[in-house]
């Protein structure tokens, strides 16, 4: 199959092993083998989404990087994506290029954040994403390869190569891949996509410059007034500088909340209020970089600025009474994009 529209530099190899050696030696992988990005595979990716190779998926203004569909497709192939995953990858890349996401700083800073890709809506189910047991772990092809594709675009195209432009002190396991879907079956409120104002047939992807997830065991019974205190306590571990916090409730915990008749808003407001501490307390724990910016030391300061910055949703498997708390880096705001699927 000829691909006259593809303009990327071509490399020729005798066999699969040579491909791996070249891409590894050229720092064009995450250290793991890649699927060779042949023209046929790249074209299949583009054709599924109906995208021209030179279609601009996103423009990153600090490094003046114009990210084209062809380059995203090459990296998606390398990550192992199937063509039907490609709309999620392109939407995630588009979200990362929104200025408030701050892709440059988030992918180069000593702060170890990665791009978390959170998918909401029916499309996640259509492509077989895992929203249930072990959703943040290995084995699901869509979760694994979509998250990996986003990270490969970041390193290969954008140039955020670890130990070069990416100077993250500790790194982040999610720099390999960090992608999962909201558990719609366990959910008791409108989907995150609908919560963002999209219709009930729309699916969305939210890109988050995310710290590592913190799993919290739920103790104190089934009353949200009690057990959510433990979640607020864990959120305070992030300090008062996260831009937003994502709170994934396991299905069993979601049922507790449902049985108590709590709305999503109630949970958000409860958590926000319980994370508020006097500035002097944050300062006493050395969690504030510039104490002088809080002239009133008794001023109440929350983990995040307002309840809307706490995204609460159902995720994970049926067994287990846990909550996962994931902070968004303070110099970045999460961005949500609709997943555009060609009908």
């Amino acid at each position: 199959m000829t691909s006259p529209n593809l303009t990327s530099l071509q490399h020729q190899f005798a066999d699969w092993e040579q491909v791996q050696e070249y891409y590894l030696a050229s720092k064009l992988t995450d250290g793991l083998p890649i699927v060779p990005p042949t023209e046929t595979r790249v074209q299949a990716m583009l054709e599924y989404s109906g995208l021209a190779p030179d279609q601009v998926i996103g423009f990153e203004s600090i490094r003046q990087k114009q990210i084209t569909a062809e380059k995203v497709a090459i990296n998606a192939v390398m990550a192992g994506c199937r063509p039907e995953y490609f709309p999620v990858v392109t939407s995630a890349i588009s979200a990362c290029c929104e200025p408030v996401f701050n892709l440059h700083a988030s992918s180069t800073s000593t702060n170890g954040v990665t791009v978390m890709v959170l998918v909401s809506g029916e499309y996640a189910q259509e492509i077989g994403m895992n929203s249930s047991t072990g959703l943040m772990g290995p084995s699901n092809h869509a979760n694994a390869s979509i998250g990996r594709a986003v990270n490969l675009v970041k390193t290969n195209f954008y140039g955020s190569v670890p130990q070069e432009m990416d100077n993250s002190t500790f790194g982040h396991p999610g720099k390999y891949t960090f992608c999962f879907a909201e558990n719609l079956e366990a959910g008791i409120w409108p989907s995150l996509a609908m919560d963002k104002g999209f219709d009930n047939h729309s699916s969305t992807v939210t890109a988050v410059a995310a710290y590592s997830p913190l799993q919290v065991s739920v103790f104190g019974g089934k009353d949200p007034d009690a057990f959510l205190l433990g979640i607020a306590h864990a959120m305070n571990g992030l300090g008062p500088s996260a831009s937003e916090v994502f709170v994934a409730l396991s299905p069993e915990v979601t049922k507790y909340v449902d049985d108590a008749g709590w709305s999503r808003r109630q949970v958000q407001e409860f958590l926000w209020k319980k994370t508020r501490l006097p500035a002097k307390e944050w300062i006493s724990w050395c969690r504030v970089e510039h104490p002088d910016r809080f002239p009133d030391k008794d001023q109440l300061v929350g983990c995040v600025a307002e309840p809307d910055r706490i995204t609460v949703f159902a995720a994970g498997g049926a067994a287990g009474v846990y909550v996962d708390v994931i902070g968004s880096w303070g110099n970045s705001r999460p961005v949500t994009r609709k997943i555009e699927v060609r009908s």
Binding site: S8, F13, W16, S61, Q64, V100, L152
Partner: protein
């Protein structure tokens, strides 16, 4: 291991566009009447460093200097900070 094809031709995932060298902004012929802004990047002691720079610059240039404590140094970050409020 199995050879997938007799010859494998693959595509390069890197940015190949040639932006050319980044150009410096045009320099003014004189600094008379200009204001020099010194913006902290929010790193520890950056404000002290900039303060020291300001004091030294004032010794050699008759120029107004404005110190900004806002850690966000570009319009992008300004917008972000507005959203954070």
């Amino acid at each position: 291991m199995t050879n997938l094809e007799n010859k494998l031709i693959t595509l390069d995932p890197r940015d190949e566009s040639d932006h050319g060298p980044a150009l410096r902004a045009p320099r003014p012929h004189t600094l008379d009447g200009k204001t020099l802004g010194l913006l902290s990047n929010n790193k520890p002691h950056s404000e002290e460093l900039l303060q020291m720079m300001a004091e030294n610059i004032k010794k050699i240039l008759m120029i107004e200097i404005r110190m900004e404590q806002d850690p966000m140094i570009t319009a992008i970050f300004s917008r972000m900070m507005q959203l954070r409020q």
